[in-house]
Every structure is written in C-alpha cells, then in structure tokens.
C-alpha cells in the first residue's frame, strides 16, 4: 500500500490502524476531516485521532469499512457483530456517520 492512499486512525489507547483512504472515506466524519480546507493537521499528515473510541471498537470499524467495499463490489456476505461490542459500536458508528 502506497503512503498516499492510506490514512492512519488512532484509537484512545494510542493504537494505530492504517487503512486505505477509500475505505476510510466511507465515514462521512472522516471524509470531512480529511478534505476540509483550512490546513488542519489531519489533512496534512493523513492521521485522525479518536480519543473516545477504544482500539477494539476501532478495529471492528475498520473491518466494517472493508466489508462495505466488498459488498458494493458484489460479494454480499454477513457482517457479524459480537453482542458485547454493539452498544459502543453503535455510538461510534453514529459519531462517525457511517
């Protein structure tokens, strides 16, 4: 993966997730953060920090991004969510607008 096509999502604990830009852009919030004019640090470095989202949830969210891309390309599978994560996942999903 080339550097220009990726973004880094940083969780509350500091764990970093590097994913494709196309995948990350599925989140309206991330898209706005990365494309808004104004010289924000996020736009420059391609890094977004989420102090409220834990690593476990963020990992699941990244998995969702890739699943979503797969789905729109035709491969329709099921996305399984562990019940314990659901509440937090729901709130994170709401925040990320995805």
């Amino acid at each position: 993966m080339k550097k220009e096509e990726t973004v880094k999502l940083i969780s509350a604990e500091g764990m970093e997730f590097v994913i494709d830009k196309e995948a990350a852009m599925l989140s309206q919030t991330i898209r706005n953060m990365l494309t808004s004019p104004g010289g924000f640090a996020e736009t420059e470095h391609g890094e977004v920090t989420f102090p409220e989202i834990s690593a476990l949830i963020l990992e699941k969210i990244c998995q969702y991004f890739y699943w979503n891309l797969q789905y729109s390309r035709g491969k329709e599978t099921e996305f399984h969510i562990e019940p314990e994560l659901t509440l937090e996942l729901m709130m994170a999903a709401n925040y990320l607008h995805t």
């Binding site: 969210i61 969702y64 699943w67 979503n68 789905y71 729109s72 329709e76 996305f79 969510i81 019940p83 659901t86 509440l87 996942l89 729901m90 709130m91 999903a93 709401n94 990320l96 995805t98």
Partner: protein
C-alpha cells in the same frame, strides 16, 4: 374480476325515480339494454318484451331508447329480489356506464341482451349495479331535485362544452348526470349528446366486424377492466358533492359565495389563467387527434424515453450502514443490555422505535430508559405496558429534566388515578416538559388532564389524539394555564370534543401555530371561519383531514388569512372542488407541504395549482386522487424543483412515461410512494435516471425490513 361472478343474475331493477318522468325525453347518450319489468307507473305503451326491445333498439331513435331505459329502471326497483354484494354494486355502476357505451354500436346484438344467455348476464348485472347505485343516490337527493338538476346541468353543460368527448372519464360522468336530468333536458343537452353517440357509434361499428357476441363482451370487459376498480363511492361523492355543495352554499348567507360557486372559471388571477392554458392545450390536442384515437389515450402527450443504465440499478442493494447493523444486533439481544447511560437521545429513540416495532419492548428496558435523569422519552407504542408496570417505572423516575414525553397508545396504563402518583407528583414535577404526547389515552378525563397540566407549566406542544373521553373542558383547561405558551395542539379523533363548544377556549391560545382537528365531524365551515379569523395570521400548520363537512368556503378563508401557512392536510374532505385549489394557489404562497387524499380535484386544477405554487412545495401527497393525469405530471416536471417527497399512490392514470418525466425532472426528489400503481412497469423502474430517489410501494421497496 368480481363482475364475472355475476353471471347468474337476471336483469337490473331500475330506479323508481326515473319512473316519474313519463315524458318521452329528447335524446341523450344511450344506456344499455335492460329487461323491462312491469311497473305501476310505467308508460303503458311500452310492453316488457325482450324481442320487441331488441328490434326496437336496433332502429329506434334515441328518445325511445332513453325512455325505455328509464321506465325499465323504475320498474324493477320494485321487485328487488336480488341481493348483490356491495362490491358488485359499486363495480356495477361503472360497468353499467361502460356497457352502455358499448351498446351504442349499430350492430344488432340487441335482441340477445335481454332474456337469458351467458354473455348478457354480465351486462345485465352492470345495469343492475348501476341502477341500485343510482337509486341510493337518488334517495339521498330527493328533496332538492329541481335546483340540483338545474345547477348540475348548467355546470355540466359548460363542462361538456369545454372538454373533449374522447376523455373517458367525462363521458362516464356525463352519462351519469344526464340520466337524472331527464325532465330538464331541453335544447342544450340533446345537441351535444347526439354528437357523442355518433362518434362512438362509428368507432364501435368499425371495430365490431368479426367475432361472436361473447367475444365482444369479453374483449370489452378486458379492455375496460381497469375502470372496474373505481368505487361507486367516488361517483356518489362527486354527485353528492355537486348537489350538497349547492346546499352548503345556501347555508352560508353570502351572495358572493353563491355566485362564485357557479362562476368557476371567471376568477381573475394566475390560477384561472393556468387553468385556461391547460384546458386549451387539452382541447387542441383532442381536436387534432380527432377520431383516430382510442379510449385510453392520454389527453396530453408526454415525451420521455427511458435511459438504460444511468439510473439506480434496482437489483443492486446498498450495503447497510454500521449503525443499522449494530442497532439490529442490539434489538436482537435487548435482554442483555445492562445500561443505556451515555447513549445519546437520538440513539435511544431509534432503539425504542425498533423495539416497539418488533414488540420486544418491556418494562426492564423502560426502567433502563428512565434511569438517571432522562431528557427525552419517546415510546411510539405503549400498548404492552400495564398499569402496574407504568406506576412502578414512573414512580421512581426523576422527571426534573424531562423535556419530551411521548407515550403513544397508552390507554391501558394511563388513567386519572395514577397520574398524581407518577407523572404529576407535585406541582412542579415536570418543569422542563415542552412536548407531551398521550395519544390513545382513552381513560383520561378532563380532570386528569387538569392535574397533569398543572405540573407542566411550560408545555409547548400537546398531542391528545384519540383521547375519546376528553370534552371541550379539556381545551378550557389548556387555555387557562397555557394560553401564552402553547404552540401546537393535536386533537385528532377526540370525538367527544365539540368543535363549536371549544371555540372560545381555542381562540384564547395566543401563539397557536399548529392545529390538528383531523377526524372531528363537528368541524364545520363556521368553526374554521371563526378560528382562522382569530388565529389565522400565525398559523403554520393545519391538519383538517377527515373533516367531511368542510367546503370551499373554508379554504377561501384559510387562503385569505393564513399567509404564512406552511403545511396543509385536506385529505378525505370530499366536498372540496377545484375552487379550493384556486384559492390556495392565490393565497398561501409559502405552502411547503400539501396532503391530499381521496379528493375529487381534477387533473387540470392540480396542474394549474402546481404551475403556480409548485416551486415552493417540498412535500406533496396525491394519494388516491384518481383524476391525476398528464397535466399534473407536466406541471410537476416543470415546476417542482424543490420537491423532496411525492406520494402518487393509487393514481392509476399515470403512465410509465409520465412517471419517468416526473422523476427525471424533479431533481430534489428523494421519496416516491407508488402504492397501488400496478400500471407502472419495469420500463419506468429501471429506465429512470434519478439515482437518489427511493421508490416505495412497488416490488422493490424495502418497507418493513427492520421488523
């Protein structure tokens, strides 16, 4: 088709009223054959013999045909032995019209019709249905014969002059009306009526050269099948509309309105201009098309070509959002939810909604919702909640921060006696409550409401729909404590509230912006006049659906006074005529939401209205407004750039082309409801190029997926 069930049914009992007119009236478009039965008042010269009728019909002048039908209608009503199901009756009326037209052919199939024989029975049942329907209609309007007839005829002949004969609907209606106009059909009617049968005659005889009589009947039935779905209620409504609007006009002592009712097309202003343009366009097209067109051709041509591949691919589904996925898992595992702290209100509401829809809501979850100091509680459906559970949950609830309380369908749990212990624990127990909705609280009385309202002094929106125990005293209570703060009041279907009695209290609500009196039969023109003159300036939203007594005069007042009206719902108000649309077009210039349902407005009028007011409109519902057709489609396409939601359910006259034109031109359109529009095919569904619109109501719609 239910009609075909009626093969065994012998001929139609005619209408008793018709028998009054023993005079041989001049020509009118013919009606079908019927087996004339004997009757006391029938003219003795016409004997009830099928064979005779057959031969007579073949060659008789129109007048004889007409009188035969009339008298035969009158006679068989007396021996009403046949119990037709209501459906057939209602269908039969339309069928009767249709088959009447069929019979205009010069062919000698007349003799076959009367007396037994398979194919005839279908026809005869049409007649029967028709006359029964007419007799019902006649009985209703018996008192005001002369006046009605004169007015209707006058209005009607103007219509006839204006509109082309090739439009099917008007033809059917004209035949309908003309039946009753017998005694007054003077010079005017015959001249026009003679024309149309001639046209039809030539058309029909051209077609019917081959095939037996049975095939002809079947063909015609198949061709006209789409019209069978019309209910007689609509016709009756229209007829009553015509009749009773005259009555209503008389009730209001105003000469001006009376004149206006007759002088429909003479308003100054943009609406009448638009109407004229549309009518001229229609007339020109009809002139040009002449006799080469069939019954079903639209009066205005719509040019739209489906574009393959550009639009939303219906078979491909968008992946569900993470939010939806996690909500679904949550709902499935609702029992395992330990706490809902830190969950924002919007999420809570979504969760509640899904839980209520799938009937998994229970008191444990309610406890979770009420824990802490909740700010908003929205339960769309509380029918699962028992009184004890309600008391238990709400007794320990801290309501000091509650701004929104919605307990819909709470009749089982909410009564006068458990309010003081739960919701209205003290005089200031609901200090922040601005929105209260207690629909369906059928045990809540005025006293209970009084206790509740005294604890919630800051209420701005109150929804007490379907609280059938409340009387006008409830409105007095609201007015006494909330006169200066209440903005919205919903009292749909509160049947014990008399509109005129609550009027004084209602007028006291100084800042009323939203008023909903849907379903209240006591709402009359007088009520509307009074409340609108008092509070109309600030009115933003009016919901008057189901208020059957309202007429055009109410709309006139609304249009004149409520200049800032944003939303109007006048569905199921059958007496409104095209005049209302004219008033609205000229008066309410900022109307963003208009809901019509089962109204009898004409295609021309709606088209003209849209030409003028279409730009501002964001949501439009034309649900079951059967006459919607190509003029509306053209106006929508041209003007409705800001339209977001459109409901065209049951508008069966819209073709794929019309629909495609609308969808491709209304670029802001996001939701299109097409329930009951089975005439729409894949040509439109896969051919339109608007990628953002969601079509609900046909086979592609994911309507109840979340349940």
């Amino acid at each position: 088709m239910p009609v075909l069930r009626s093969r065994e049914i012998p001929p139609v009992p005619p209408n008793p009223r018709k028998a009054r007119y023993n005079v041989d009236p001049p020509s009118t478009p013919t009606q079908g054959r019927e087996q004339p039965a004997t009757r006391l008042s029938s003219p003795p010269s016409l004997t009830p013999s099928p064979k005779t009728d057959g031969s007579v019909y073949g060659s008789a002048p129109f007048s004889l045909r007409r009188s035969l039908r009339l008298y035969s209608k009158g006679s068989s009503n007396a021996d009403d032995q046949f119990g037709l199901p209501a459906v057939e009756k209602s269908i039969g009326s339309r069928n009767g019209d249709v088959s009447k037209k069929r019979k205009l052919s010069g062919d000698v199939d007349d003799g076959d019709v009367n007396g037994g024989g398979g194919g005839n029975e279908v026809v005869e049942s049409y007649m029967k249905g028709k006359s029964i329907a007419e007799s019902e209609y006649i009985e209703k309007s018996e008192r005001k014969d002369e006046i009605e007839n004169v007015n209707r005829k006058r209005r009607f002949s103007r219509e006839e002059k204006g509109k082309g004969k090739l439009v099917v609907e008007t033809d059917l209606e004209s035949e309908d009306e003309s039946l009753v106009d017998v005694s007054f059909s003077d010079v005017e009617l015959p001249a026009e009526e003679v024309k149309s049968p001639d046209e039809k005659l030539s058309k029909r005889s051209n077609r019917r050269t081959s095939g037996g009589r049975m095939e002809r009947f079947r063909d015609a039935a198949r061709r006209n099948a789409s019209r069978f779905a019309y209910f007689n209620t609509r016709e009756e409504e229209e007829e009553n509309n015509n009749n009773l609007s005259v009555e209503a006009e008389r009730e209001i002592p105003s000469v001006e309105e009376h004149i206006e009712e007759k002088v429909v097309e003479d308003w100054p202003g943009p609406f009448s201009t638009a109407m004229k343009i549309i009518r001229d366009r229609t007339a020109n097209l009809n002139v040009r098309q002449g006799s080469s067109s069939s019954d079903q051709v639209p009066s205005v041509q719509i040019k739209w070509v489906p574009q393959k591949g550009k639009g939303k691919d219906g078979s491909k589904r968008l992946p569900p959002s993470l939010l939806d996925l996690s909500l679904r898992v949550l709902v499935d595992n609702a029992d395992a939810i330990a706490s809902l702290d830190h969950v924002p209100d919007a999420m809570r509401h979504k969760l509640c909604q899904m839980l209520c829809d799938s009937r998994q809501m229970n008191s444990n979850l309610l406890d979770l919702l009420l824990s802490g100091s909740p700010t908003e509680i929205r339960l769309r459906e509380c029918s699962w909640l028992t009184e004890d559970q309600f008391s238990e949950c709400f007794v320990k609830c801290d309501t000091s921060n509650l701004t929104v309380l919605q307990l819909d369908y709470c009749g089982q749990c909410l009564a006068d006696y458990n309010i003081p212990s739960t919701l209205a624990r003290s005089l200031n127990s609901l200090p922040a409550l601005t929105t209260l909705s207690l629909t369906g609280a059928y045990r809540l009385s005025d006293a209970g409401l009084s206790v509740l309202v005294s604890s919630a002094p800051a209420l701005r929106s109150v929804n007490l729909s379907q609280c059938s125990f409340l009387t006008h005293g409830a409105i007095e209570i609201l007015a006494s404590s909330l006169a200066s703060v209440l903005l919205e009041l919903f009292i749909n279907d509160c049947q014990s509230i008399d509109a005129m009695l609550m009027l004084p209290s209602l007028k006291k609500l100084e800042r009323l912006k939203v008023l909903s009196v849907a379903g209240l039969e006591s709402v009359t023109d007088k009520f509307i006049k009074e409340i609108i003159t008092a509070r109309g300036d600030g009115m933003k939203e009016l919901i008057l659906s189901g208020c059957g007594k309202l007429t055009d005069s109410s709309l006139k007042i609304i249009a004149e006074t409520c200049s800032s009206l944003r939303s109007l719902d006048i569905g199921n108000v059958p007496k409104l005529t095209d005049n209302s649309l004219g008033y609205l077009a000229s008066g309410c210039r900022s109307l963003e939401l208009l809901k019509l349902c089962r109204n009898t407005f004409s295609d021309d009028a709606i088209g003209a209205f849209l030409e003028i007011s279409g730009e501002v409109l964001k949501e439009l519902a034309l649900n079951n407004v059967g006459k919607v057709g190509h003029n509306t489609a053209l106006s929508l396409a041209r003007r409705s750039r800001n339209l977001v939601s459109l409901d065209l359910s049951w508008c069966r006259n819209l073709t794929d082309e019309a629909m495609g034109l609308i969808v491709d031109s209304c670029l802001s359109l996001r939701v299109l409801k097409l329930f009951g529009c089975t005439q729409i095919t894949d040509v439109f569904l896969y051919g339109h190029s608007n990628a953002k619109v969601e079509i609900i109501g046909l086979k592609l719609s994911p309507l109840l997926e979340h349940i």
